[in-house]
Amino acid sequence: MIEIEDLVKRYGGIYAVRGISLEIEDGSFVGLVGPNGSGKTTLLKLIFGYCRPSYGKIKINGEAPGVRTKSFVAFFPEIDSLYPWIRARGIINWYSSFFDDWDKEKEKNLIQVLDIPTSRYVAHLSKGMRARLKLVLTLSRNAKIFLLDEPLSGIDPSSRDMIISAILKSYREDQTFILSTHIVSEAEVLFDRTIFLKDGSVMIDGESDELREKYGKSINEIFKEKLNV
């Protein structure tokens, strides 16, 4: 379970996250939606421990984010974090050696489904391929919590379905997924809960189906209407 209490993250005078309180139950698939600069990435980074709150608290299964929580939390960064001087196969083998929860079977399936040319150097992969390779590194683990930061942005629309289906296939009901995106329409069927962020605060938070019922609209339409994007 992830417990977030009065979370604030400030960079100088600029607030990236301003007073968020949330509880995320084990086994939920949460969509974190909001326009660029709404604080999605900062929130995920804070949960993973890439940065620390200015105020407030985060607890993951009772622990503050840190080295220990990284053994059961997986993070997919939006930025290009792979070393260019290594082959795809090499970086998978290297990265996997650090994790007790690495699943060889999942790795094999993902490489196949996401169509990764494993013998090529990372430097010679296209941007989309590198993003898919990062997805292999993230999803091949049997982690308890997965934080996916914008896995659909920068991906051409034809590969999006491939990625959504890979994420869906790897999701197990006892795992928690938090997926941030500003491309809502394709991904909304994944979310059982959707959190709308704007200017670093939670604007709407609820079960996706209840929101559909309440507003009589799709999550994407609510997103466009409420967040003016």
Binding site: V189, L190, R212
Partner: protein, 113 residues
């Protein structure tokens, strides 16, 4: 299957499963939550919610270790419900267009084949 994303997905899944039961595509054993979720391309939790409601409605039942099954007589009970549901919706839409019940009756009687 394409979902209407402006209505609750779990209701649409419920309807889909019920239709499959009525059509006889699901006879006894109901697909597992996971396999149906993968087939429909939705979150398994949403399918699980649909199944929970259908269990409450006594349409399906699950037994530990034996999977999920269609309850005896569920199909027979579903048939009239579903017909009523379709007729209601049909009438409701026409009424909302401004037709009266008599006009609808005439329309239906006038349909051949």
């Amino acid at each position: 299957m394409e979902f209407d994303k402006s209505r609750p997905i779990y209701l649409q899944i419920k309807r889909e499963v019920k239709e499959r039961i009525v059509r006889g595509e699901i006879k006894e054993e109901v697909p597992t939550v996971r396999s149906l979720a993968m087939e429909l391309g939705v979150n398994p939790n949403t399918v699980a919610k649909a199944y929970r409601e259908m269990e409450r409605e006594d349409i399906i039942g699950s037994w530990v270790g034996r999977g999920t099954w269609v309850k005896d007589g569920a199909r027979e009970r579903l048939c009239p419900d579903m017909i009523k549901e379709i007729v209601d919706e049909f009438i409701h839409r026409l009424v909302s267009l401004g037709l009266s019940l008599d006009e609808i009756k005439k329309l239906v009687e006038g349909v051949n084949d």
